[in-house]
């Protein structure tokens, strides 16, 4: 086939994409907006519906796979549209640099149901630089014997960091599993201990 050498520059496409994202947000066509945020734990994927923050994912969770999952479970109208995530990105940045202890952004928990949702809703009660055991969380959620289910609920928390599942640790005090990896959990607990102690 005859080919025409008609390159378009990455700058052209970046400018057009930014314009498209702004217009699509403006007319309510973006069901899932996302961006990535670089931080001390590597790039975080942030995704929000018009209701609120719906997903935070670590690089080890494979951002591409997470976006595919969001497209299937929420809507394929998924677009890199950073404006909707400006607030949460700024607050995460402040959190990682020790200037923020609580998040004030709307959360959309549509990806969690049943007991898992009850657990996730209770996570916010664990204050900055504090921890709770899986057993204590099971009790708080009204099912003291459901310790394993609490573990699962924490591991599958769709909005880690912002909803602090990293503050749930084993009864013996060791950190336990984490969606972002055990090292990430430890890093968050260390950060909060340091900042909490300095205050």
């Amino acid at each position: 086939m005859t080919t025409l050498d008609a390159p378009v520059t990455p700058d052209d496409l970046a400018r057009l994409h930014a314009d498209l994202a702004a217009r699509a947000l403006g007319v309510g066509l973006v069901d899932v907006a996302y961006r990535t945020l670089d931080g001390p734990l590597g790039p975080l994927l942030l995704a929000a519906t018009p209701v609120g923050l719906v997903r935070v994912a670590f690089a080890v969770q494979d951002h591409d796979a997470v976006l595919t999952d969001l497209a299937t479970r929420i809507s394929p109208r998924v677009l890199a549209a950073p404006a909707r995530l400006d607030d949460v990105a700024r607050q995460l940045d402040e959190y990682f640099t020790g200037r923020r202890r609580t998040f004030d952004v709307p959360i959309d928990l549509r990806l969690v149901g049943g007991f898992r949702r009850v657990v996730v809703e209770h996570l916010a009660e664990i204050g900055y630089a504090r921890t709770a055991s899986y057993a204590a969380m099971a009790e708080a959620a009204g099912s003291p014997r459901a310790v394993r289910a609490v573990g699962t609920a924490c591991a599958l928390n769709p909005v880690p960091v912002v909803v602090p599942c990293h503050r749930v640790v084993r009864s013996d005090g060791t950190p336990g599993q984490y969606a972002g990896g055990a090292a990430a959990k430890l890093a968050l607990l260390d950060l909060e201990t340091r900042v909490g102690a300095a205050a």
Partner: protein
Amino acid sequence: MDEPFERVVREHGATVLRVCRAVLGPADADDAWSETFLSALRAWPDLDRGANVQAWLVTIAHRKAIDVVRAAQRRAIPVADLPDLAVAPAGRDLDLWSALARLPHKQRHAVALHHLGGLSYDEVAGVLGGTPAAARRAGADGVATLRRTYGTTIDGGDR
């Protein structure tokens, strides 16, 4: 379709821009590009899984580009000369877009859809009307003229 729409923009954004530029010139192509992807985003969840996404987008882009042309014609005050396409952003493509603008209408559109948009000549005929053979002829004639006027960066034979 249940794939994230973002991937569609990334994969096909450049092709859609080329088609829009071929029909409109670089200065007016941006608007048609945005309209194409807004319209595609709206329809995306309902598109059949087996659909040829590039052909679907190129067809939308062509329609949006025609809309831009018509809107400009409605606004335009008749003048003796055609507008100078050299007001486009500078760059190595300027000559190609100018050369395309000087082609007869049907050739320009056949080249935009087939050579830049990747539509088959059957699909081009479906968009432009007429037979696939006539579309093929228009495309071949257009490319022959471009080869003379624009020169070196056109290569290969026709299919």
